[in-house]
């Protein structure tokens, strides 16, 4: 009898616990939606904020240093940095946490298309009042001195939910010593020149050194189409003539041997450092890794991406609406600190990300930085920026391009006809837009 009583009590306690958990959940989520419209307050008491990010290596170290500086200047605010792994892991974590908003961080790094539904469900904070606030913000978006194109890129359906932070572009990295050896005078500026130079290197090195490659096949295709005047949308006919022209440019190069892909290594910086490939197109944020890999073996240099457009990529910082008014103000002060001239200078000089701040990008301290090669070339490299539009399934379709292109180029590698792979790619591409 006694045992059964105990069990019954335990059972009751269990039920009660389950019940309270459910109740408290409900209460909190209802309060969070109301606090989103609260007024902007000053940070008067000790406030903790949480920042989810996907930075590794030198990027993470620099972020930690910047955060320490911020905490020193603002002793009442504590910033907890939480690394969530690669971008894909971070995206997955945000996706699955959106259904229990109280477990979300105060702010997170994200691409706008990850947060499309969160914005629709009013789970994000509109940054405009904070930007315009004289107390925690700049007073106006012009006064923020953030590049307008980047600020516009952090909008979701016209609302300024994000503030650009770690932005990069695609650039061409090349082995200057090999260029000299094989008589190439300057870095290629068009896709035709890229092809010609790649062929020259491949031939003159007796097929030992591959001419060129692209890290991101999604970017390769998207920009290839954009350079042909086609915007990224569900209307793209993947098996159409323009699309085939773009695909075959790369496929022909792989068949002939003067182009290659990164494969499961994901990046060409490794083969580049081992002088197996003479140039590659990849993110400017990879320069830190290139520099480390190349060491003293040879001289590398950076040039604008051949072709008219380059990709604007990298994440913005978004704020979730469940936080308290003080947390939101504190978080915005932190964001403001991260995109300030001094912080962006330090950030860009250490990582190869581009400064989002005009004053930092124009400063002599950045332009004359001899430690990395990008700053001197940045202005030319950034004339025509393009990014994937934030519409439903655009992110999924863009992501699907990578495996599709891999399959096509793998067929090319085996000297097979790529038309079959293009046709099956078309059905996958269209399926990605329709889900």
């Amino acid at each position: 009898m006694k045992l059964s009583k105990k069990l019954a009590t335990a059972f009751a306690v269990c039920l009660a616990l389950a019940g309270t958990a459910a109740c408290s959940n409900g209460e909190k989520s209802s309060s969070s939606s109301s606090s989103s419209s609260a007024k902007i307050t000053k940070v008067k008491k000790n406030t903790n904020i949480v920042f989810w990010h996907g930075m590794t290596g030198v990027q993470q170290d620099t972020l930690k240093e910047l955060t320490k500086e911020f905490e020193k200047d603002n002793p009442k605010i504590k910033v907890k940095l939480e690394n969530q792994g690669q971008y894909s892991d971070l995206q997955a974590k945000i996706n699955s946490t959106l259904q229990s908003p109280n477990n979300l961080p105060t702010i997170t790094q994200a691409y706008p298309d990850w947060l499309h539904t969160a914005a629709k469900n009013k789970m994000l904070v509109d940054m405009t009042p904070y930007i315009n606030s004289k107390e925690v913000g700049w007073g106006s978006s012009e006064a923020s001195d953030i590049k307008t194109a980047l600020l516009d890129g952090a909008k979701i359906e016209g609302t300024q939910y994000g503030i650009p932070f770690n932005k990069s572009i695609e650039t061409l990295t090349y082995n200057a010593d090999l260029f000299k050896k094989y008589g190439i005078k300057k870095a290629p500026t068009t896709m035709e020149e890229l092809k010609k130079d790649a062929q020259t290197i491949y031939e003159k090195s007796n097929h030992k050194v591959v001419g060129a490659g692209f890290d991101s096949l999604s970017n390769y295709y998207t920009l290839g189409m954009k350079n042909e005047g086609v915007n990224f949308s569900s209307k793209i006919d993947f098996a159409g003539s323009t699309s085939k022209k773009v695909i075959n440019y790369y496929a022909d190069g792989i068949k002939a041997g003067y182009f290659r892909v990164a494969g499961s290594e994901h990046y060409l910086s490794g083969p580049f450092a081992n002088q197996k490939v003479a140039m590659f197109i990849g993110t400017s944020a990879g320069e830190g890794f290139v520099k480390q890999g190349v060491g003293d073996k040879f001289t590398y240099d950076v040039a604008p991406r051949p072709g008219k457009y380059t990709m604007s990529q990298g994440t913005d910082i978004y704020m979730f609406s469940h936080a308290s008014a003080e947390q939101k103000s504190a978080a915005f002060m932190y964001i403001k600190f991260l995109v300030s001239k001094a912080s962006q200078l330090k950030w860009a000089n250490a990582t190869g990300y581009i400064p989002v701040n005009n004053a930092a990008a124009d400063s002599a301290e950045y332009k004359d930085n001899k430690k990395i090669k990008l700053p001197a070339k940045l202005e030319d490299a950034m004339t025509n920026l393009y990014s994937v539009p934030v519409v439903k399934n655009a992110g999924a379709a863009y992501g699907q391009l990578n495996p599709i292109m891999q399959n096509i180029l793998a067929a090319a590698q085996k000297k097979q006809n790529v038309n079959n792979a293009i046709n099956s790619g078309k059905s996958k591409f269209d399926a990605a837009w329709k889900q």
Partner: protein, 288 residues
Amino acid sequence: MKTNQKKAWLFLAPTIIFVTLFSIYPILRAFGMSFQSGSLIDLTWTGFNNYKYIFSDPDFWLALKNTLLYAVISVPVGLAISIMLAWIIFDKVKHQSLFETTFFMPYVTSTIAIGIVFRYIFNGDYGMLNFLLRNLHMPAPDWIDDPAMSLTTIIIFGIWSSLAFNIVILMGALRNIDPNYYTIADMYGASGKDKFWRITMPQLVPTIAFLLTMNIIGAFKIYTSVYALFNGQAGVGNSGTTAVFYIYNKFQTVGTPGVAMAATVVLFLIILFATFLQRKMMKKIGEN
């Protein structure tokens, strides 16, 4: 009698609560979600659209094909090799415990870590495997970066990593066979082959049935080894994608939980059917 029954409910309560909460409810929820579209925070009824979508999605068919092929090839081959190795260790080798421990080691090592090591062994340019193959003048395919090789690579890795657990369980079963059987068989002059097929194998049937069930279910749920072998992707061009990879990708990355759950339900039904078939088959073998 009646009081006894009431008490039984109490004793069962913890299990019932946990199983309902963490096993039955998720299955029902998954089933319900497979008829909904939209993101997790804003699900709407969509009928059979998710099922229509997955059955018209070439990636889903590829995932199913890969998963089935993996299960059908890696499980029997892995099990056969395990039985062979376990029998050799049991019958012919001194210092059994040393070998048993060695073979068990992969089981206690993280799959991700082993996968990374195998990524280097399998590397087409500087991998150890291709170095050996070239020295033996055999074709050296690109195990990792050629989409046509992805599934083969996964199967080889799957067979290798299934050995550990299988061998240890089989060793236990072999030790449990009454040694008198062998003594009597020796008295009547039975050959080694006779002893293996007429004594050892029949005695191992229940254990093999258990391992087969576990391995098949495990094979249908393969994910981690693919992730580790191909550096976070399902092989070049998603050529090595599996059912669980498909589900994870649709749920977490693409953000269409309904589609993911429709795929889950299909996979659930396939595993259920496979397990049912297998139990029938093993029952038949047991009767004979």
